[in-house]
Amino acid sequence: MATVEEGLSCQELVELVTAYLEMTLPPREQVRFEAHLAICPGCTNYLAQMRETIRLTGMLSEETIPDDGKAKLLDAFRTWKHGHTGE
């Protein structure tokens, strides 16, 4: 029995998605993962949704710096420079 490779179920696959994307699946698991994907539109959609979620989450980083915070920092830098380099 141990030599027979059972296919993954969809319920098992969704738990491996992060390890798959992180490329931390052992080679044999990766083969099973990809073999399942090849025949399962539901899991293919699931993986694509996960990738899209990651892409959209990454776009949340686009935010600008509040000007007053930055101005204070530049003042602090000038003070530091004055004390530090004697300029």
């Binding site: 969704v14 989450t57 949340l60 930055k70 602090a76 000038r78």
Partner: protein, 275 residues
């Protein structure tokens, strides 16, 4: 009461500056070899290379040293180049705000912590060894400052303990009801399969409301999961940077990321299914 902050608490003091726990996560190294303590981030209190010779500390130690770009930036900063400082601030400020907000609730307090952090960075520049990346060093100072502040406000955030809690037990990525029962034909395969998002116009994906839903889904996550997805997927840090910064194991980092992403995907799926 729990100890207020337990980053790296597994790292024995004064033995070596690199401790590897059973799951392989680096838990103990700090710039200058200084271990925890509320003000371990104070650059001026750090002996320059307290543990030189203990272990080789090249990139293979899991914490890459300052890159050539950073070395140039460092030289410019030390020379008092304001444009270089501005570049550094622009590169990290928003990320610092997001990280600080993992510890302190209030944006004004977070901004104060960031101001303090930059002052500490400037004061510590001369002694910064470049053995970790400048970014790692800055965020380490930030985390220490923010944690100190959180403790003073009575809300400590011990990520390593939280991480173990939040990574425990069973938490399915997808509700079990969406799969066929174990005794059905095609057991545990989709009963209600995810639909393709391929036909959804990009404008909808990028719409303000979609962003807002995403943001809310992330805000609703338990703290350690929120911390990991924020650093990994919003800030784009790699797995090692995140587990090092939060003081969690590689295994827990991955479990937390998995749980966080699964919930955010589910929230997005629900939202996009609304007409």
């Amino acid at each position: 009461m729990r100890p207020p902050a337990i980053y790296f608490r597994n790292a024995p003091r004064g033995t070596t500056d690199l401790q590897v726990n059973p799951e392989g996560a680096r838990v103990g190294r700090r710039e200058g070899g200084v271990d925890m303590g509320e003000d371990a981030d104070e650059p001026r209190q750090q002996p320059p290379v307290a543990t030189a010779g203990a272990l080789p500390l090249g990139p293979e130690s899991g914490d890459p040293p300052a890159t050539p770009d950073e070395q140039m930036l460092l030289a410019a900063l030390r020379g008092g180049d304001e444009a270089a400082f501005e570049t550094l601030v622009n590169a990290h400020y928003v990320a610092m705000l997001r990280v600080a907000l993992l510890y302190v609730r209030n944006r004004a307090v977070a901004e104060e912590v960031i101001q303090e952090t930059w002052l500490a960075v400037l004061q510590g520049l001369a002694r910064f060894e470049g053995r970790s990346s400048l970014k790692t060093w800055i965020f380490r100072i930030l985390a220490n400052r923010a944690r100190t502040r959180a403790v003073r406000e009575g809300r400590s955030v011990p990520f390593s303990a939280l991480a173990s809690q939040e990574a425990e037990g069973d938490e399915p990525a997808v509700e079990p009801e969406r799969f066929r029962p174990a005794d059905a034909r095609w057991p545990r395969h989709w009963a209600s399969a995810p639909q393709s998002w391929g036909e959804i116009p990009e404008e909808r994906m990028l719409a303000l409301e979609t962003r807002e839903r995403l943001r809310l889904a992330i805000e609703a996550l338990p703290l350690a999961q929120r911390a990991v997805i924020t650093l990994r997927d919003i800030e784009g840090w790699d797995a090692e940077e995140v587990s090092g910064h939060l003081g969690v194991t590689d295994g827990n980092q991955r479990v937390l990321l998995h749980r966080a992403r699964s919930k955010v995907r589910a929230a997005l799926e629900r939202y996009l299914a609304e007409v």
